[in-house]
């Protein structure tokens, strides 16, 4: 009886502490977001630092070298891409002003009204709504993506955290493990080892995959002469991180823009073909290479994780939901497998 009471007390204490931690993390969610992004970046860049170490550099020099390389890449991208990107955003902010686009939307509206009148569809004002949506996307990008204050905070804080996580990550891990009681010490290291292998491979694979898909999409849209090719290409690459929905969303936006740009489906059909080729290339060549050793998550779990992530933290939450789901899956799977041996609770 006393054993059961003791067990219940332990479970209650564990639940109270976990709830307090969750409440605290939600209260400081902005800082948590920055730390999570920094930790993921450090995690993705870690193999590069280890590679430089294997070439004879010490950890600090390797980390500094990677930072210098990143500054050079960002600087070049800033000089080359910022004029194109800011022009695209400002034209997007003004909304679509193409006569052809207006014609397509009006035709589409007439089609809907004439065919769906039995459902009570009368005036839709699609044209006004479309102009409203495109200009609000532009406004959103100006206020959120190009918000000077948040960029400044992120530009200073994220690299700062990434630098120290990369340089002293092993020491942090050692310090963390040192506070684990002897009984769970080896198991906690085993869990960290499994998480590092499975989730680490997943994250690095996804980043590499998103970069390749983003570059291919940008290149294809540029060759086809689609407006806002850079924004759509970058978006398609990032959206690719979200399984199932991401690639479809990226392609849908590109198709809508191409229809509005030309007023017919000629360019849109090429865009669809381009995205199908990219998707096939991604599924048959890139993904098997980069994701072979990573954690497997079922489609239903992916769907639920994306919905919960999106509900809690918006787009960032959706992007982070899959690695977090992988992280939880490894912990739950290994804990259940070893439950009897370690009697975790």
């Amino acid at each position: 009886m006393s054993d059961n009471t003791n067990k219940l007390f332990k479970i209650a204490l564990l639940l109270i502490i976990s709830s307090a931690i969750i409440v605290f993390l939600v209260a400081i969610s902005n800082i948590v977001k920055l730390i999570i992004i920094a930790a993921l970046l450090a995690y993705v860049l870690d193999p590069l630092a280890s590679f430089l170490e294997s070439r004879g550099m010490n950890r600090t020099t390797a980390t500094i070298s990677i930072f210098l390389l990143l500054i050079a890449v960002v600087g070049i991208a800033y000089v080359l891409l910022l004029p194109v990107l800011s022009e695209e955003i400002s034209t997007l902010k003004e909304g679509f002003s193409s006569e052809k686009a207006d014609l397509v939307i009006s035709r589409f509206e007439n089609f809907l009204v004439s065919n769906l009148s039995f459902l009570g569809v009368k005036e839709l004002n699609l044209l006004d709504r479309m102009h409203g949506i495109t200009s609000s996307i532009g406004d959103w990008m100006v206020t959120h993506v190009l918000d000077a204050a948040s960029i400044l905070v992120s530009i200073i804080l994220i690299p700062f955290i990434v630098f120290f996580l990369m340089k002293d990550g092993r020491q942090f891990k050692k310090e963390f493990v040192s506070i684990v009681p002897n009984r769970y010490f080896e198991f906690s290291l085993y869990l960290l080892h499994k998480i590092n292998i499975q989730v680490g491979n997943y994250l690095r694979g996804q980043v590499l995959d998103a970069t390749i898909v983003g570059l291919l999409a940008t290149g294809a849209l540029w060759l086809l002469g689609v407006k806002y090719f850079l924004i759509i290409g970058v978006f398609a690459g990032m959206a690719n991180i979200i399984p199932y929905f991401g690639p479809i969303t990226g392609a849908t936006i590109a198709v809508i823009v191409s229809v509005l740009q030309t007023g017919d489906f000629h360019l849109a059909s090429y865009v669809v073909i381009a995205f199908i080729i990219i998707k096939l290339f991604d599924d048959t060549i890139i993904l098997p290479m980069v994701m072979s050793k990573s954690v497997h998550i079922s489609p239903l779990t992916v769907l639920l994780a994306i919905m919960i992530g999106g509900q809690l933290f918006g787009i960032l939450g959706m992007l982070l939901s899959i690695p977090v789901a992988g992280f939880i899956k490894v912990i739950v799977h290994e804990s259940i497998t070893n439950y009897r041996r370690y009697r975790v609770v």
């Binding site: 280890s50 590679f51 170490e53 294997s54 092993r170 050692k174 493990v177 040192s178 002897n182 009984r183 010490f185 080896e186 198991f187 290291l189 085993y190 960290l192 080892h193 590092n196 070893n338 041996r341 370690y342």
Partner: protein, 168 residues
């Protein structure tokens, strides 16, 4: 005042020397130079165990080896809690777990208060990845150690067979 600082540094020096001495006596780290030894010491975990505290249980997932800095450890095999070995300062155990993830083949219990150094597989893999030369040295020494254990086991089996034949 100077004496106090001298004493502090002397203590740290002594502690460092003790660790170096113990590590250099472990076959896996034998013949490592000062620089390599420092790299190894950075990745080792130090743990303290009370008397009768279980270090690991038979059947647990094994992740690496333990080196006894101070204290005594009993290796027990179930069923029957049959004692396989009693280990002391400078001895080591569990090195096979550096190579595979098979469950521990015996239970290790602290017989006296112990200070152990732990060297685990993730750290070994990390060393191989970022310092292949040192990783190669450790793997070579690990293979040598396991080879020695195999020779010793073969010897024991031969002796047992010989004894059995004589008994017959």
């Amino acid at each position: 005042m100077i004496n106090m600082w001298e004493n502090i540094f002397k203590f740290r020096q002594k502690h460092a020397d003790d660790t170096d001495k113990i590590l250099l006596n472990i076959p896996v780290f034998k013949n490592l130079n000062h620089h390599d030894l420092r790299a190894i010491k950075r990745i080792l975990h130090q743990r303290e165990y009370r008397t009768n505290e279980v270090i690991f249980n038979q059947g647990d997932v094994g992740l690496g080896m333990y080196i006894i800095m101070r204290g005594e450890v009993e290796i027990i095999c179930n069923p029957g809690r049959h004692m396989l070995a009693e280990l002391q300062d400078g001895d080591f155990f569990g090195e096979l777990a550096l190579l595979d993830e098979a469950p521990r083949s015996a239970t290790a219990v602290a017989k006296k208060p112990c200070v152990l150094l732990c060297f685990f597989k993730p750290e070994l893999l990390d060393i191989i990845n970022r310092n292949p030369k040192l990783g190669g040295k450790i793997l070579f020494r690990l293979a040598w150690t396991i080879g020695e254990r195999l020779k010793s086991t073969n010897e024991k089996i031969r002796e047992l067979c010989f004894q059995k034949k004589n008994d017959e």
